[in-house]
């Protein structure tokens, strides 16, 4: 089997979010948590949305959540066209009160078995030859 280079879009690894990307490499899904009000924030901004506090700390989440919504994609764009059917999910993390809802593909799952409320966990994929690790979700049995 010949080696196929990864040809799907990859995220830019920007210095201001280095803690996040380093976290994925360490198998941790980290988001900014406000030191003042305790809210967990996704996507990351330099200040807390609650009181605009900049006292935030990158904090490791449980890496678990529940399917908030999902779709089975039958027509994929670009490099995803050969992956169909694949499952795209929005996953709600338990870290409240403003629970992060994170979008990602699901792996190791029967598309017909996916349902809203399904328990899932974050899984990680290192991309060969690239400086970035990306995340997916898998059933949390």
């Amino acid at each position: 089997m010949t080696h196929q280079p990864y040809n799907k879009p990859l995220p830019q690894r920007l210095p201001e979010n280095e803690e996040f990307w380093a976290g994925l490499e360490a198998r941790e899904f980290r988001v900014p948590k406000c030191d003042d009000c305790g809210y967990w924030h996704w996507i990351p901004y330099p200040a807390c949305r609650n009181f605009l506090s900049t006292n935030q700390t990158w904090t490791t989440t449980s890496g678990k959540g529940k399917v908030f919504s999902y779709t089975v994609v039958h027509r994929g764009p670009g490099g995803f066209r050969d992956d169909v059917p694949y499952v795209l999910a929005m996953v709600e993390f338990p870290e409240g009160p403003r629970n992060p809802i994170v979008i990602g593909t699901m792996v190791d799952v029967d598309p017909d078995a996916v349902h809203t409320g399904m328990p899932v966990k974050v899984v990680y994929e290192d991309i060969e030859g690239e400086n970035v690790t990306i995340w997916h979700f898998a059933p949390d049995d």
Partner: protein
């Protein structure tokens, strides 16, 4: 201080031909549309002194080039965004004396946005050796795109409100019926469809089938908003701007809040409440509407957020046929984004159709005695970008 009602009017509108592929460039199609709207109004290009671009990347440089194109005199007002909000803000600027004739313009050719375009580009390109880098939280990393994202929203809506897919699938049926009455629509000539036809069309991203999805085509349009002083000498009766509003929030496909769908409402609710209050009309006063309708769930949520029904009941409102010609809220009588045209940034065409309805120019699809219309432009779902304009004739 309220909205300056009837201080500005839409005096000219024009849609170019809308088709899968058109000759020309975004510029030439916008130009054709502007000329068409000027002819409709009986105005000259040198009358325009305000520009509102519907381009996604409405750079200052691009606006300056259009100023040169339109005669090379200084303009006194520019804006960009979505059509309902641009009409509203143009009217407010006119009432404030900043400008007299504002031209809202858009054209698109050869820039189709969907997977078919991406696929064609990929097949034409050399073998990819390196993954393309996109903004850090971009949903493209996860194989998402418009239809897949709206599928997520549709599923959530169905689960949250026990909304049957079949209720939502009534919307493409209504849109196609309207298109059959509009000779300019892309899909009208294919005839009417049924809910079963929607279900039988290929699955794109569950639960959305092909007939749930917008078209992806070329086309252009232009809208002229003018002062009452200018309007009284134009060719056609003025369609007054009675009120309007804009709402901007999140949902740019990366960041979501729970409850995603809630009773407090999001951008569309804010824009609508401001618009109806400013216009001094009620929901019951609306005779005809044009609402951004990229997918059926968008329509269900539109009518909920605009206050035409309760949150969670939009799918029943659709099922009951109220949006159809002859119903209590005839909507998107041109066939909308599913069956008339989605030319890239199409929200201005909802304005064009409502203006034509209020003028009585809609022939077989004319809403009888339409006097007050509402337009809802939006992007990034009802939570994201919203523009509402309330329009009325004398």
């Amino acid at each position: 201080m309220g909205f300056p009602q009837r201080k500005a009017a839409i005096v000219g509108v024009y849609n170019t031909k809308q088709a899968r592929i058109l000759e020309g460039t975004p510029w030439t199609l916008a130009l054709e549309a502007i000329q068409g709207a000027l002819d409709d109004a009986g105005l000259k290009h040198s009358d325009i002194d305000g520009l509102s671009s519907m381009m996604y990347d409405a750079s200052l440089t691009a606006q300056q080039m259009w100023v040169e194109q339109l005669g090379g005199r200084p303009m006194t007002y520019t804006s960009h965004g979505i059509a309902g909000a641009l009409v509203t803000k143009a009217a407010a600027a006119i009432a404030a004396g900043l400008t007299n004739v504002v031209c809202i313009y858009f054209g698109n050719a050869g820039m189709r946005a969907g997977p078919s375009k991406q696929r064609a580009a990929q097949e034409a390109a050399p073998v990819v050796r390196k993954a393309p880098r996109v903004p850090d939280w971009d949903f493209n990393v996860h194989g998402a795109y418009m239809s897949a994202w709206y599928a997520l929203w549709t599923r959530r809506y169905m689960d949250q409100f026990n909304a049957p897919y079949e209720n939502l699938a009534e919307y493409p049926v209504i849109a196609r019926y309207h298109a059959t009455l509009n000779p300019a629509s892309i899909m009208g000539e294919r005839g009417e469809i049924t809910v079963q036809d929607v279900i039988d069309s290929p699955m794109i991203s569950s639960p959305l089938h092909r007939l749930d999805c917008s078209l992806d085509n070329d086309g252009g349009y232009a809208i002229l908003v003018a002062s009452a002083e200018v309007a009284k000498n134009c060719r056609k009766a003025p369609v007054w701007v009675l009120g309007g509003g804009e709402g901007i929030y999140t949902d740019f496909y990366m960041s979501f809040t729970n409850d995603w769908i809630n009773d407090n409402g999001q951008s569309v609710r804010r824009a609508s409440d401001i618009a109806f209050a400013g216009a001094g009309v009620t929901r019951d006063d609306i005779d005809v509407t044009g609402m951004y309708d990229c997918f059926p769930v968008t329509m269900a949520r539109n009518i909920e957020e605009m206050g035409f029904c309760k949150v969670g009941e939009g799918h029943e409102f659709i099922k009951e046929g109220h949006l159809k010609l002859g119903g209590k809220l005839p909507t998107n009588t041109d066939g909308g984004l599913l069956s008339h045209s989605h030319c890239g940034n199409p929200s201005g065409m909802h304005v064009v159709e409502v203006v034509k309805q209020l003028r009585g120019e809609c022939d077989a699809r004319q809403v009888k005695d339409a006097k007050i219309g509402a337009v809802l432009s939006q992007g990034y779902a009802v939570h994201g970008v919203a523009g509402v304009a309330i329009l009325g004739k004398d």
